[in-house]
Symmetry: C2
Subunit: 394 residues, 2 copies
């Protein structure tokens, strides 16, 4: 079934009708009759059901082509709210979004993920409750929660799987714990996957595959194909930080291997590299690069080259249309990007890089929270959810 | 929509009904009424339409639960035929399949792909005509053609894109050329993608992602997710033969780069490696390994290690559930596999290899032709095709 038609032999469900209205393909009852082939009365039934649940509102159409004005059908973004959190190692961004991905309230807080799931999720529940209060009367319209965590997550269950920087989280049932406070669906995914999802949804809606590479303390990648996260068999797809890098057999990684990309080119390695000049954090590294410190520029550019070497392999493997760089070290801008591009173009076959775009994240530090909201509103607006909400209408 | 129900608000199309019968979910008209919620008369209409086009046949059900016996509905595999070809560098396998992936006729011939598209496709058209003759009266039921070619193919158009071992084929409109002889849909894809598709369909129907790695003269990979080929942006996904291998900066590849996997561990490299002992072909290499020649065993095992190094990167990137080794060099069996496994397990994070299966192709040299037939029957039996064939029935 393509985007602007429905199964020509069946009648359209309320979810089908909502999809046509959301996408802008149907603006009037007449549009719906034409696109679905349903009778006027059936279309009216569907609209009534969607209106009753606040999902569709009608307005007067000012541009009428003669005859009596037909009312315009509009998707009501404020029919529901979702809560989102993008949890990093030491900071967490929380937000309330409406169903049109508009921010109702948002903030960034210090939060140490290593404090463990109970402390972190209790804090998150309290934060969510406060955020919801800012939504006033609409708070009861909460429909779902979406969370990004900085480690591998089994997407189907929402449980982290042996996440290296998250002691105590392995196998913890995040959805179950939060549902004790909020009895709504809770979706969890890896933070980098959600950064990719957010970037793809907002900046590259018709491009596939997209690879979002986060260069922070560690290095990870989220792969988005056809608007969805590519999880692989166990949610480990995109875990490129431990691919071995040429010529660095002497660098020991925390994972127990040697020569891992992350150990050679991640923020931690850059900080260590620039330790003598006083660098202690990723921000210090970026500040030095932006100030024109030659050693820092060289270190970041070399890191870019190593990352580009691994991404050349990714180009040969999944043939992405766009590679987006994000994460704190990406704030170093053109220097990192230049190194990355240099090696990707040097080592890839022409077909793989023919139309490849290698660029910085446009959403930057809001990519993750946007992706979390995207995952969550998509779930809420999925055909099954809408048809269940609105009920069987014949 | 899941496999054993249909949209509960719409009426099922003929394609929906055929799908339920093919999958074995519906064996009687009663099953269809129950699963689709359609009236007895509507079900009868759909069955009549499908029967009229020979897609469904009815038989008497011997296991009746009292009352009058209900007739069993069966998908008629012989309602149509498809032609398939799996073209390698020097050999081509051609076949006629029915819609149930049963072989009607099949054979292997010498054919040099480097003879160019006109010579090769003329030969193929003649071969196809002869094969169809063996199908006798059924020849007129030809519904589509599927072809695998040993190079990158733009799947949407069926045109090869700068294929290295196929001079003259770049951009050639393969479907258009063959349609001058056979006025049916012609689908074309890369041979390794189709090997993956065949292996996934027959040996791993419920496993995803699957990576099929062909180790022949060159090295390539077909990635199958959810039963479909993962093509990437331009059909270059899986082109892993030119990923740079650690520590081999001195090996020059035909692609103009150094240290490519294919140049280090492909059949051509193995033949060169064993040239002094008289090896001239991939088969010579395999024969020596199977005869226990120590130099050959060592060379193949080392090639396996190098391939495993690149596959460790693929494991980190797409997190496959299964990696299948095929191609001529895979006939060397456990020696290649042992080397591949050694490096994959040494260099991957535990989550990526937790349940990973690394194994030899079960379909072996029939994987490609099976995948070509699979691609083609899937196209013929897709909802759009069936509904168009049977016509709009309300």
């Amino acid at each position: 079934m393509n985007a602007n038609s429905v199964d020509r032999l069946g009648s359209a469900t309320p979810a089908d009708v909502l999809r046509l209205i959301r996408a802008g393909h149907a603006r009037t009852r007449g549009d719906l009759q034409r696109l679905t082939g349903m009778a006027r009365s059936t279309v009216a039934q569907r609209i009534d059901a969607l209106t009753e649940h606040g999902l569709v509102v009608t307005g007067q159409d000012s541009v009428s082509s003669g005859g009596r004005p037909s009312s315009t059908l509009l998707f009501n973004h404020r029919a529901g709210l979702v809560l989102s959190a993008d949890c990093g190692a030491t900071h967490t961004r929380t937000a309330v979004f409406d169903l049109g991905l508009n921010v109702v309230a948002e903030e960034v807080s210090d939060l140490n993920i290593a404090d463990g799931p109970v402390a972190v999720l209790n804090w998150l529940a309290a934060r969510f409750t406060e955020l919801l209060m800012t939504a006033g009367d609409e708070a009861h319209r909460l429909l779902a929660i979406g969370i990004g965590l900085p480690g591998p997550v089994e997407h189907a269950t929402g449980k982290p799987v042996a996440p290296p920087i998250m002691p105590g989280w392995d196998g913890f049932d995040v959805p179950h714990y939060l549902q004790q406070t909020f009895p709504v669906p809770v979706l969890v995914d890896n933070d980098v996957n959600l950064m990719g999802l957010g970037e793809a949804a907002i900046a590259y809606p018709h491009v596939s595959p997209l690879a979002f590479v986060k260069v922070g303390t560690g290095i990870g990648c989220g792969i988005i194909t056809g608007g969805r996260v590519f999880h692989g068999a166990h949610g480990a797809a995109g875990d490129i930080g431990h691919i071995r890098v040429t010529d660095h057999h002497d660098v020991v990684c925390w994972c127990g291997n040697v020569g891992c990309l992350e150990a050679v080119a991640g923020g931690k390695a850059l900080v260590a590299n620039l330790h003598e000049s006083g660098a202690r954090t990723n921000s210090d590294v970026v500040d030095r690069v932006l100030a024109g410190d030659a050693a820092a520029v060289r270190a970041v550019r070399n890191a870019g080259r190593e990352i580009g070497g691994v991404l050349a392999g990714l180009v040969s493997t999944i043939n992405p249309a766009v590679i987006v760089l994000g994460g704190q070290i990406a704030d170093a801008g053109q220097y990192l990007l230049a190194g990355v591009r240099e090696t990707i173009y040097a080592r890839s076959l022409p077909l793989g890089t023919r139309d490849l775009e290698v660029t910085r994240s446009r959403l930057a530090d809001r990519a993750g929270i946007t992706g979390a909201a995207m995952m969550t509103t998509e779930h809420v607006l999925a055909a099954d959810s809408i048809d269940a909400l609105v009920g069987a209408v014949r």
